[in-house]
Amino acid sequence: MNGRSLSPALSRWIDAMVMAVVQLAARTAPVSLSERLQEEWLADASARSGGFSRLRFALGCCYAAVAIASDDAGLKAPDGNSPPPERPMASCAYARLGSSPSLRTPSALPAGTVICDINTTPLIDVMLVLLVTLIVSLPLMTHAVKIDLPQLTSRDDLRPDVISLDIDADGTVVWDGTAVASIEQLDGYFRAEAMKTPQPEIHLRPDRRVKYDVVARVLALAQHDRIRRIGFVDTAAYKD
């Protein structure tokens, strides 16, 4: 992803973040180098083409500042002249760059003294990960998508009606307490209910002595008329 694909607002936000992070990083560096590094890093950041590339550059500057500060602190050799063995470059020091000796270490240590400092490198890594996570997630948190959702007026509106459909032992179909005269009338009832939204629930309660043929025809007709909410009720009566 490069800067051209970013929205102008996001690009401006990233540039502001780059400047803030670089300034923060430069302040982490030794005081004598802080101003120079800030100007140098901001200039080099502007040479990067993409917004995220500049942001990655700025975050890297944080790490660079810690490394430079660590080098600067390590430059203070015990006798002030000879370098520590693990840092052979240290002796020429930042003195040439104008670093103040007082900034290097809090005090001169005797030769051979073990410095029991906390290794802050993993802490810096974790901090950078958290910072990147925060930076990436901030625009997402502030960006809301407006959707017009249907408003619920009353719970009763959503509750489907219940129609009782009984089938007597002699095959008579009873629609909500009213005997159905013919299969065409039942077909008309089913079609009318199928058009409703939501569809009513049809509770089918056939007599245990009625022929299955009658029940099957009622079910087939309901299916043909696209009745979706139909089911047997009081099924415990059929168990005996």
Binding site: E39, W41, A43, A47, R48, C92
Partner: protein
């Protein structure tokens, strides 16, 4: 500045930076230029540049431009010193001759 003062820890990344400068020793390169040639991240690149400068291998100066006229901020330009150039060439020659990693 004695030879001991000029000792720099020669990591692979440091060698890549030196190689970028050795490609055209007379050129002055900014950190952005070195990044383009080495693809080193800023967290690695700038400590190396400062170490090499503090060790006398590089000198640096501000670019002499008018930021308002050019439309961009001035950059810090690094250049190999004559002694740094000689040392860098010696190091890469040692690799060429198969003498292994220089001390």
């Amino acid at each position: 500045m004695g030879r001991a003062d000029r000792a720099v820890r020669m990591s692979l990344q440091t060698l890549r930076v030196l190689e970028a400068f050795l490609a055209s020793p007379a050129d002055e390169l900014s950190g952005a230029d070195v990044h383009k040639r080495t693809a080193l991240a800023s967290g690695t690149l700038y400590p190396i540049l400062l170490r090499l400068e503090s060790a006398g291998w590089f000198v640096s100066r501000w670019e002499k431009i008018d930021p308002g006229a050019v439309g961009r901020p001035r950059r810090r330009l690094y250049r190999l010193t004559p002694s740094g150039l000689a040392d860098a060439r010696e190091i890469f020659a040692s690799f060429t001759l198969g003498r292994g990693v220089p001390a």
